[in-house]
Each structure stands twice: as structure tokens, then as C-alpha cells.
Symmetry: C2
Subunit: 358 residues, 2 copies
């Protein structure tokens, strides 16, 4: 027989008050602090949630932000599940056409796939990469998205493209407002390294660098948290976005056939149901002749984990209504946020904790 | 147009070293500390993961324990999806018979449903409750489970029963070793309060008190984290158990028809896939004449989120093999634990952090 491992609180504090509790290593999230500055600390919030000994507001640190009132309560989202070819110019033209069609069908928000301007391979990333801080010809994919957002007066979450920045490459999602300006830029933070012998081996980290920030953006269609593909595998990121007040999480993603069939729908529905918000994903269309065969099945999921719309695996434009009133409805029916146990677990949002913002 | 909310680290520390960072309120997890003792602190680990600037080992605090070598690499688990009647003695006899049948079919671990000795209602909980610290007639359900485990030499995760402790009632799962001794006791920590007008309204908190601890138990068939029903809705608990080295999470649960169809399979598969371990659930069989109609569909899920076996909604005993070698296989194929971003998010296990144990 084995012993019980139930962990009970110690009656003695491990540290007395006054001792430093956490030093963040320089070179990671506080790179700009001069060497002579005392090491910064994670400041854990000291407030105790009113009305519950279980401290639900402590289950995320800092305490969760209230859900902001969105600029629109209902709007149409488009998921443009594009075919990707080796011809970059053709990919850009095809994307431009799809965005225009989506806007014509009433979409106020258009979501594109992960890596829509380039075949999905480590060999191709450097060839198709753009310096999005450059102008004109240096970043034709980026420029097209900005122009399309402005001329069609829609918000665009531009899927992702390989981004070149100095000698580094990133898998980057750009978000454009209705005036065509860049609202936010998410560099994939969890790179996709997988090795399932006989099925799929892929190591993004061979060519790409991971981003250093979670990205949440206030747009004309609500507060949107961004993840790219493998980012969806990590529930912590979605919890973090929900605590920052997201209405919608958007994940451009190119799952493959193996992980797609098992995990693609599951991950989206779980992130939506766990956090009681909307999740939208957009994949490239499937090309069985490509070196990397994408799963397709771009999807919109509601805050009860319900699939609202899903594409097949071929090229498609899904246009569907998002009704944000469902968020409050689900949260009032099953008040998960009031039921969390901050006395048992706490999800620390490291950057928000150390930031003066938000 | 709205503004970007990407949060970047501040260059200035909010606190200088030497200040206390978190005071835990007395009366919750450090109740026994005298009032004159300085307030205890959460001690965040200072070690930086070797080999990655992304600090994957910091994504859970304290750092995750290595997966222990389980006492068996393969074994059979039984999910006893029992019908529950208003007759407590009959429920106990029926459960005893099912456990014996499961053991006869080779099961080394038997999992029972949530609230298997009583109809599922607030009115019934106090009537059917047992003082499991009593003996003999005071706790016939508890005594039967202990006796069955000992005489059949199996591990039993005894679903749950209403437990009376002083003037409080809990929804409690008892885990028995092969010698019949109590290895661990989990009191449901997230009570099920739900209000979906026209479909279901139920407030466990009207009669029950929530437990104060997560519960993980070393057994002859591996390290097992326990949750009861609504506990499965909280991804933090499953992450916490995975970081404590769980091979298997067991959730006795009585989802209803509304949440069952949407969420039951989803939650199990998500907890398994996110944490790359096994998840087993056990529901009462469905009784459409009962005041609370359970969903059924007791399930075993593997570490890729794959459903290995699932009952329908009628009384059934599922006996299926658990192969722990799949855990390492999945974790080596997709090394989520090495890909987590401790520089961006950290899940704090409050009790483990403050405990001298584990």
C-alpha cells in the first residue's frame, strides 16, 4: 500500500515577512533594468475577495479585469480558409479577394489562416518572410492587409506570416484597425516542435524565434486575445487573456492531419468553455500535395463550448454572427469566475503583474 | 479605432527587494498560525530552468515534480456506472456486487460514481450522509468500500457520498488501498451552483460545504489526482495535479443532461490532452424519473485526449486497460512541459508552496 499525498498547509511560515520572494532573472522580462538596480519582484496581490473565503479573485494574479462593454454587441466574423500556393503574389491576391468578399457579406472582422502567404515549411519561412517594419515592396502581405482594412473599414486579424526582424524570423500575426493602422502584433510564443515517428516530425524552432509577449488588442469589435496554432495547446494563455477581459480569442492555426483530428476542435471548445468566451480559428485549406498537410476546419465556438460554424477542409469563407450577450448569459448561468479557488491555485500573469499598464 | 493592449514589462520594479509580497489571510490556509506570528508568504521559486530562457519549469510553482515510476505499467480499471435508487441499503449492495464483478474481470482499480448511495438532491444529502470517521453502522457505505478493497485486494476510488462532519455536509470521495485502509479523502472543492432558466437550477452550496484541499494519492496503480464532478471544469486543478506527478485523474461526476451533452466528454478530453495523462470519470446511470437526471457516459481517456472506452447512459461496468507507457510516449512526441512559458504565466499550487511536504 502506498501513502497518501494530500498536501496540507504547514503551520509554520517558510519565510518570515521582509524576505525577498522572487527574483526575476535579468535578461528575460526585465532586460532594461540596469545592473545596479535591486532585482524586481513579482508582486502578488494582497486583496482578499469580498464575500468568499475561497478568494476567487485571487485565482488569477493580478485580479481579473471586469469584462469591458464591447463597442458592438453583435457583429459578423469571417473565417477565410485560404488555399496556399508556392506563389506569394497569388496568395496575396487570393487573400485580398477573400477579404473583399467577406466584407461584402457583412463581416466586420476578418480572420486569416496561419502562414497564408507561404507554404508551411522551415525552408520557405526565410524566403517568404517580410520585414513588416519596412514599407512598400518590403512587406507586400502586410501592406495589403493594412490597405484592405482601411479601404473596407473592417478589422483584420491577419492570420500569420513569416516575419523577418534583424537576423531573426518570427511567426507573426498582425491586427489592423478600420483605419488600416497596426493595432497589435503577436509573435507565436509556443513554437511547434513535434516528433511522432511515422506520422509527423516538425521543428519550427529550427528556423523561428518565439515571441516574448501575450497580445490582447482592443478593436472596434471587442477585446481580442491572439494566439497562433500551438499557442492554443496551453490553457494558461487563454486563462490569462480571459482575466485581461477578452471577449474573443483568435487563433490562426495550421494543425496537421494527425493532431487535427484529435485535438483541433477539442482545444478550441475547451478554451471557450473554460473561459466562457468566444474562440475563432482559421486554418489554411488542405492541400494533400503539400509538404505539410493542414487540417482545415476553421471554426467559431461560443462561450458554452458550442460549435457555431465550422468549415470543411477545402477553401471556404465562413461568415457568422458573434453575439457577445451570450458571454454574460453563460457566466450568469454557471459563474465559474466566482467559483474558482484562489486559496488553492493562482495563475500569475507575469507581464501584467510587473507592468504599470492595465 | 481602439488602442493596443499588448502588455510589455515595465522597466521599473514595483517593489524593491525586501518587501513582503503576499500575505495569506489567516483563517484560510494557515489557520493554525497564532495571531502574533508574522504573516506567511508565498515563496516563489527562484531557480531558472536550465536550457531555456522561457523558464518552462517556472510555469508551475513550485517546479513540477518528475513523473514517478508507477508500481505497474499496465493494469485494468473498472468504471462502475451504477443505478441509484432511494433505498440506501440496496445501493450499497448493488455497488458491492459491481465491485466484485469488476474485480472478477481483472480490475485492479475500481471507480464508482458521484453520490452513488443517495439520490442526487439537496433534500437527500443530509438523510443519506455518513460520518466516515464513525464506525460500523454509522458509515455503512464507507465500511463496505473498505471491506471490498481489502477482501478483493484492489484499489477503490469510492465515487462520492454525502459526508457528515460535525454540523457540516461534504460531497466526499474516499480512496482505499488494497489493505482496505483509507489512503485519501477528497471533499469536492468546487460546488455545483448552476442556474440555466428553463433547463436546470441546482445549488449544492445550499446544503454542502466545499473542501479545502486538492487530493492526490499514491496507490498500487499509480499516483492519482481526485476531483468530483464540477471540479473538472477548472483546468487549474488538473494542471496542479499534473505538476504533482499524477499519472491518472479520476473524476466521479454526475453531469446533467444539459451540461452533459455539451461539456462532459469535452472536459475529460481537455484535461487529459492538456496534461498528457489519463483521465477516468464515472457517472451514475441515467434515471429519467429522478429529480436530477444524470448524463451517464462514464469514460476513460488517454494522454492524447483520445477516448479509450465510454459507457452509454444505462447501468454498465466498463473494464479497460490503462497503459502508462503512453504518457511518456505522448510527452516525448509533443513536449508540452518543455514548451510552457514560465516567463509569461505561472500556476501557483498554494498548498504545495506553503507545505514542507512534497
Amino acid at each position: 500500500m502506498r501513502g497518501a499525498l494530500t498536501i496540507r498547509p504547514s503551520s509554520a511560515p517558510l519565510l518570515t515577512a521582509g524576505q525577498p520572494l522572487l527574483r526575476l532573472s535579468r535578461g528575460t522580462i526585465n532586460r532594461r533594468i540596469p545592473a545596479t538596480t535591486p532585482p524586481p519582484c513579482l508582486r502578488l496581490t494582497t486583496a482578499v475577495a469580498v464575500g468568499s473565503a475561497f478568494q476567487p479573485d485571487e485565482a488569477t494574479v493580478p485580479a481579473p479585469l471586469p469584462l469591458p462593454v464591447p463597442p458592438v454587441s453583435k457583429f459578423k466574423i469571417a473565417l477565410c480558409q485560404l488555399s496556399v500556393t508556392p506563389e506569394k503574389e497569388r496568395n496575396i491576391a487570393r487573400a485580398r479577394k477573400a477579404i473583399e468578399e467577406a466584407a461584402g457579406r457583412g463581416a466586420q472582422l476578418v480572420l486569416l489562416p496561419e502562414i497564408w502567404n507561404s507554404p508551411f515549411s522551415n525552408d520557405n519561412f526565410p524566403v517568404y518572410a517580410e520585414d513588416i517594419e519596412g514599407v512598400g515592396d518590403a512587406a507586400p502581405s502586410f501592406s495589403m492587409l493594412s490597405e484592405a482594412a482601411r479601404s473596407l473599414q473592417i478589422t483584420i486579424i491577419g492570420g500569420s506570416i513569416p516575419e523577418r526582424s534583424g537576423d531573426r524570423l518570427y511567426n507573426t500575426c498582425c491586427v489592423f484597425g478600420t483605419d488600416g493602422k497596426l493595432l497589435g502584433k503577436h509573435r507565436k510564443i509556443h513554437l511547434f516542435d513535434i516528433d511522432i515517428p511515422g506520422e509527423i516530425t516538425f521543428k519550427e524552432s529550427n528556423t523561428l524565434t518565439a515571441g516574448e509577449h501575450a497580445t490582447i488588442v482592443d478593436t472596434d469589435v471587442g477585446r481580442i486575445g491572439i494566439g497562433i496554432c500551438h499557442d492554443i495547446r496551453f490553457p494558461e494563455l487563454a486563462i490569462l487573456y480571459a482575466a485581461r477581459g477578452a471577449h474573443l480569442l483568435c487563433y490562426p492555426g495550421a494543425f496537421n492531419i494527425t493532431t487535427g483530428s484529435l485535438l483541433w476542435e477539442l482545444m478550441q471548445r475547451a478554451r471557450a468553455a473554460d473561459n466562457q468566451l468566444f474562440v475563432a480559428t482559421c486554418s489554411p485549406a488542405r492541400d494533400t500535395g503539400a509538404c505539410y498537410v493542414a487540417w482545415g476546419h476553421s471554426t467559431l465556438v461560443g462561450p458554452f463550448g458550442e460549435v457555431i460554424a465550422m468549415a470543411g477542409h477545402e477553401e471556404a469563407i465562413i461568415v457568422e454572427e458573434v453575439d457577445y450577450s451570450l458571454i454574460e448569459l453563460r457566466r450568469s448561468s454557471i459563474p465559474l469566475n466566482q467559483q474558482r479557488r484562489g486559496d488553492l491555485y493562482r495563475l500569475v500573469d507575469v507581464h501584467r503583474l510587473n507592468s504599470r499598464g492595465l
